[in-house]
Point group: C2
Chain length 131, copies 2
Amino acid sequence: MLMRIDASNGLPIYDQIVRQVKFAVAHGAFRPGDLVPSVREMALQVAVNPNTVARAYRDLQVDGVLEPLRGEGLRITKDALKQCQADRKRLLRDRLRGAIVECRRGGLDTDDIRKLIDDVLKDTVREGVSS
Amino acid sequence: MLMRIDASNGLPIYDQIVRQVKFAVAHGAFRPGDLVPSVREMALQVAVNPNTVARAYRDLQVDGVLEPLRGEGLRITKDALKQCQADRKRLLRDRLRGAIVECRRGGLDTDDIRKLIDDVLKDTVREGVSS
DNA sequence: CCTACCGTACTATCTGAATAGTACACAGGA
DNA sequence: TCCTGTGTACTATTCAGATAGTACGGTAGG
């Protein structure tokens, strides 16, 4: 599980963790029944305060993605897969929508936007994107 | 000049103002030599504290987009047009890039992303987008 | 039993963003 | 001259996000 926190993202760190865990479940890196990395371990991985990770895990429990094992850790729920796939689509769609709406408000027409997007798509043709 | 501030945007308000002024210059809603709305007037328009607008105008001066007229107001500089068009492209490209990178990290391939984007583009075919 | 790890709940502190309110020097018009 | 509007510079306050540190009850394994 590769976690990347981007401070210049605008999104709070705990939110980025929530999203990335959901995305990992959605595409199979985490599977129902798996134990998620412990609060303290995840905090080390992403170089962040344990409280921030705890906050993210708490949100994920509220969303029904994680369930507690009393003193053992946190487990991906049985229903998480379907839900995370739906969440992923919604979250990514919303973010794309925000960017595209700003393009339109900035005076770009659909063709301009398509050109920009094609550029970026070529620019990011692999997971290991430079940024 | 239509200004829209979105609190759920992630971006600070003063940053949103900076971007929207630049975009307005870039596509001709503001022209070099024009006076920008006064700090207090703009604050009323966007329902925001005057200090926040002042902060945005200060940033725009640092960027060379605005210049002061001693006791009269702030004027769009002569060089603003070219610079704002370049800034607009860069800022919007960066935002699109951020969204697309998150899509790729989330496990979507290029076709998935294109489908999502086409959806959103159809969904936002006019300036007066619902959101 | 004891140690280690688990989530969780606290308190305190720091920072950036935003708000509120006041004050000042400058220009323009009546 | 006086009044109004301009940008600008302050201080104080509130709030969310993040950090730091401590503590507690539950579980597993030696």
